[in-house]
Protein backbone atom coordinates (compact mmCIF):
# COMPACT_ATOMS: atom_id res chain seq x y z
CA UNK A 1 0.00 0.00 0.00
CA UNK A 2 1.48 3.32 -1.05
CA UNK A 3 1.19 6.11 1.51
CA UNK A 4 0.07 9.04 -0.60
CA UNK A 5 -1.43 11.29 2.03
CA UNK A 6 1.87 12.22 3.69
CA UNK A 7 3.30 13.67 0.49
CA UNK A 8 0.16 15.58 -0.39
CA UNK A 9 0.66 18.16 2.38
CA UNK A 10 3.10 20.16 0.21
CA UNK A 11 0.41 20.27 -2.50
CA UNK A 12 -2.08 21.42 0.13
CA UNK A 13 0.17 24.27 1.28
CA UNK A 14 0.79 25.54 -2.27
CA UNK A 15 -2.87 25.28 -3.24
CA UNK A 16 -3.96 27.09 -0.05
CA UNK A 17 -1.77 30.06 -1.07
CA UNK A 18 -3.01 29.85 -4.69
CA UNK A 19 -6.67 29.75 -3.65
CA UNK A 20 -6.23 32.75 -1.30
CA UNK A 21 -4.41 34.88 -3.87
CA UNK A 22 -6.74 33.89 -6.71
CA UNK A 23 -9.97 34.52 -4.80
CA UNK A 24 -8.89 37.98 -3.68
CA UNK A 25 -7.33 38.93 -7.05
CA UNK A 26 -10.43 37.87 -9.01
CA UNK A 27 -12.61 40.29 -7.07
CA UNK A 28 -10.16 43.21 -7.27
CA UNK A 29 -9.92 43.35 -11.08
CA UNK A 30 -11.50 46.23 -12.99
CA UNK A 31 -11.56 44.15 -16.21
CA UNK A 32 -14.38 41.60 -15.89
CA UNK A 33 -12.92 39.27 -18.56
CA UNK A 34 -9.69 39.03 -16.60
CA UNK A 35 -11.66 38.39 -13.41
CA UNK A 36 -13.39 35.43 -15.09
CA UNK A 37 -10.05 33.92 -16.17
CA UNK A 38 -8.56 34.35 -12.68
CA UNK A 39 -11.58 32.63 -11.14
CA UNK A 40 -10.87 29.70 -13.50
CA UNK A 41 -7.27 29.55 -12.26
CA UNK A 42 -8.51 29.54 -8.66
CA UNK A 43 -10.86 26.71 -9.56
CA UNK A 44 -8.05 24.49 -10.87
CA UNK A 45 -6.11 25.09 -7.64
CA UNK A 46 -9.25 23.89 -5.84
CA UNK A 47 -9.24 20.78 -8.05
CA UNK A 48 -5.69 19.95 -6.90
CA UNK A 49 -6.82 20.48 -3.30
CA UNK A 50 -9.62 17.94 -3.82
CA UNK A 51 -6.99 15.52 -5.11
CA UNK A 52 -4.96 16.06 -1.93
CA UNK A 53 -8.08 15.48 0.20
CA UNK A 54 -8.54 11.91 -1.18
CA UNK A 55 -11.38 12.72 -3.59
CA UNK A 56 -9.92 12.44 -7.12
CA UNK A 57 -13.35 12.08 -8.78
CA UNK A 58 -14.39 15.47 -7.44
CA UNK A 59 -11.04 16.85 -8.60
CA UNK A 60 -11.70 15.73 -12.17
CA UNK A 61 -15.23 17.18 -12.16
CA UNK A 62 -14.10 20.45 -10.60
CA UNK A 63 -11.23 20.79 -13.10
CA UNK A 64 -13.55 20.45 -16.10
CA UNK A 65 -16.51 22.40 -14.75
CA UNK A 66 -14.64 25.19 -13.00
CA UNK A 67 -12.07 25.80 -15.72
CA UNK A 68 -14.20 25.58 -18.88
CA UNK A 69 -17.91 25.88 -18.10
CA UNK A 70 -18.09 28.54 -15.37
CA UNK A 71 -15.67 31.08 -16.97
CA UNK A 72 -17.36 30.36 -20.32
CA UNK A 73 -20.79 31.28 -18.97
CA UNK A 74 -19.42 34.40 -17.26
CA UNK A 75 -17.55 35.44 -20.45
CA UNK A 76 -20.80 35.06 -22.43
CA UNK A 77 -22.47 37.38 -19.92
CA UNK A 78 -19.61 39.88 -20.16
CA UNK A 79 -19.83 39.95 -23.96
CA UNK A 80 -23.59 40.50 -23.81
CA UNK A 81 -23.25 43.43 -21.37
CA UNK A 82 -20.09 45.48 -20.94
CA UNK A 83 -16.47 44.55 -20.33
CA UNK A 84 -15.13 47.10 -17.88
CA UNK A 85 -16.57 48.01 -14.52
CA UNK A 86 -18.07 51.50 -14.62
CA UNK A 87 -17.26 54.03 -11.91
Amino acid sequence: MIELSSSFIITAYIMLIAITIGAIAALLQKDLLRAAFISGAESIALAFFFQALLAPDLGLTQAIVGTVLLPGIIILGVFKTRRTEED
Binding site: I9, L27, L53, I73, I74
Partner: protein
Protein backbone atom coordinates in the same frame (compact mmCIF):
# COMPACT_ATOMS: atom_id res chain seq x y z
CA UNK B 1 -0.30 23.25 19.52
CA UNK B 2 -2.19 21.01 17.18
CA UNK B 3 -0.45 19.27 14.36
CA UNK B 4 -1.01 20.80 10.92
CA UNK B 5 -2.73 18.27 8.68
CA UNK B 6 -4.24 18.45 5.20
CA UNK B 7 -7.68 18.57 6.82
CA UNK B 8 -6.76 21.70 8.79
CA UNK B 9 -5.38 23.35 5.65
CA UNK B 10 -8.64 22.45 3.89
CA UNK B 11 -10.67 24.09 6.64
CA UNK B 12 -8.51 27.24 6.41
CA UNK B 13 -8.92 27.42 2.61
CA UNK B 14 -12.69 26.85 2.90
CA UNK B 15 -12.92 29.65 5.48
CA UNK B 16 -11.00 32.01 3.21
CA UNK B 17 -13.25 31.18 0.24
CA UNK B 18 -16.48 31.56 2.23
CA UNK B 19 -15.41 34.89 3.81
CA UNK B 20 -14.16 36.35 0.51
CA UNK B 21 -17.22 35.14 -1.39
CA UNK B 22 -19.74 36.42 1.14
CA UNK B 23 -17.92 39.75 1.44
CA UNK B 24 -17.91 40.11 -2.32
CA UNK B 25 -21.60 39.30 -2.60
CA UNK B 26 -22.43 41.86 0.09
CA UNK B 27 -20.11 44.76 -0.66
CA UNK B 28 -19.28 44.75 -4.39
CA UNK B 29 -21.40 46.90 -6.68
CA UNK B 30 -20.98 45.20 -10.06
CA UNK B 31 -23.46 42.40 -10.80
CA UNK B 32 -20.98 40.18 -12.70
CA UNK B 33 -18.61 40.51 -9.73
CA UNK B 34 -21.44 39.37 -7.49
CA UNK B 35 -21.88 36.27 -9.68
CA UNK B 36 -18.14 35.50 -9.48
CA UNK B 37 -18.27 35.92 -5.69
CA UNK B 38 -21.22 33.49 -5.60
CA UNK B 39 -19.12 30.85 -7.40
CA UNK B 40 -16.31 31.42 -4.87
CA UNK B 41 -18.78 30.92 -2.00
CA UNK B 42 -20.07 27.72 -3.59
CA UNK B 43 -16.48 26.43 -3.97
CA UNK B 44 -15.87 27.18 -0.29
CA UNK B 45 -18.87 25.15 0.84
CA UNK B 46 -17.78 22.24 -1.41
CA UNK B 47 -14.25 22.34 0.02
CA UNK B 48 -15.61 22.37 3.60
CA UNK B 49 -17.66 19.21 2.93
CA UNK B 50 -14.74 17.40 1.26
CA UNK B 51 -12.40 18.34 4.13
CA UNK B 52 -14.93 16.92 6.60
CA UNK B 53 -14.80 13.59 4.74
CA UNK B 54 -10.99 13.32 4.95
CA UNK B 55 -9.43 10.66 7.19
CA UNK B 56 -5.82 11.10 8.30
CA UNK B 57 -3.67 8.34 6.83
CA UNK B 58 -6.59 7.07 4.78
CA UNK B 59 -6.95 5.86 1.23
CA UNK B 60 -9.08 6.79 -1.75
CA UNK B 61 -12.44 4.93 -1.40
CA UNK B 62 -11.83 2.34 -4.13
CA UNK B 63 -11.97 -1.34 -3.17
CA UNK B 64 -8.81 -2.85 -4.65
CA UNK B 65 -8.33 -6.61 -5.07
CA UNK B 66 -6.62 -8.21 -2.08
CA UNK B 67 -8.05 -5.72 0.42
CA UNK B 68 -10.37 -6.94 3.16
CA UNK B 69 -13.70 -5.22 3.81
CA UNK B 70 -12.83 -4.36 7.41
CA UNK B 71 -9.57 -2.70 6.38
CA UNK B 72 -11.42 -0.78 3.66
CA UNK B 73 -14.11 0.53 5.99
CA UNK B 74 -11.60 1.57 8.64
CA UNK B 75 -9.25 3.43 6.28
CA UNK B 76 -11.23 4.77 3.32
CA UNK B 77 -12.34 8.40 3.17
CA UNK B 78 -16.08 8.96 3.59
CA UNK B 79 -18.12 8.69 0.40
CA UNK B 80 -21.39 10.40 1.36
CA UNK B 81 -20.02 14.00 1.31
CA UNK B 82 -18.39 13.20 -2.04
CA UNK B 83 -21.82 12.37 -3.45
CA UNK B 84 -23.29 15.61 -2.10
CA UNK B 85 -20.42 17.69 -3.48
CA UNK B 86 -20.61 16.02 -6.91
CA UNK B 87 -24.28 17.00 -7.10
CA UNK B 88 -23.53 20.49 -5.83
CA UNK B 89 -20.82 21.15 -8.45
CA UNK B 90 -23.17 20.23 -11.30
CA UNK B 91 -26.12 22.19 -9.89
CA UNK B 92 -23.85 25.20 -9.29
CA UNK B 93 -23.21 25.50 -13.02
CA UNK B 94 -26.92 25.75 -13.85
CA UNK B 95 -27.51 28.20 -10.98
CA UNK B 96 -24.70 30.40 -12.30
CA UNK B 97 -26.17 30.23 -15.82
CA UNK B 98 -29.55 31.42 -14.53
CA UNK B 99 -27.86 34.24 -12.56
CA UNK B 100 -25.95 35.41 -15.67
CA UNK B 101 -29.17 35.32 -17.72
CA UNK B 102 -30.92 37.48 -15.11
CA UNK B 103 -27.96 39.91 -15.13
CA UNK B 104 -28.23 40.21 -18.94
CA UNK B 105 -31.98 40.94 -18.67
CA UNK B 106 -31.32 43.58 -15.99
CA UNK B 107 -28.67 45.19 -18.21
CA UNK B 108 -31.07 45.36 -21.16
CA UNK B 109 -33.75 46.99 -19.03
CA UNK B 110 -31.62 49.42 -17.00
CA UNK B 111 -28.54 49.94 -19.17
CA UNK B 112 -26.08 49.51 -16.32
CA UNK B 113 -24.51 46.80 -14.19
CA UNK B 114 -24.34 48.79 -10.95
CA UNK B 115 -26.60 47.40 -8.26
CA UNK B 116 -26.91 50.80 -6.54
CA UNK B 117 -28.33 52.35 -9.73
CA UNK B 118 -30.64 49.40 -10.47
CA UNK B 119 -32.06 49.50 -6.93
CA UNK B 120 -33.19 53.11 -7.49
CA UNK B 121 -35.45 51.81 -10.26
CA UNK B 122 -34.80 54.38 -13.00
CA UNK B 123 -35.43 52.71 -16.33
CA UNK B 124 -33.46 53.67 -19.40
Amino acid sequence: MTEITIQLLGFIAATVLIVVGMGGMLFLDNLIKKVIAFTLLSDGVNLLLVALAYIEGGIVPILLPGMSISEFTSRAALVFPAGIVLTNIVIGVSTTAILVALVIMLYRRYGTLKASVILKGERR
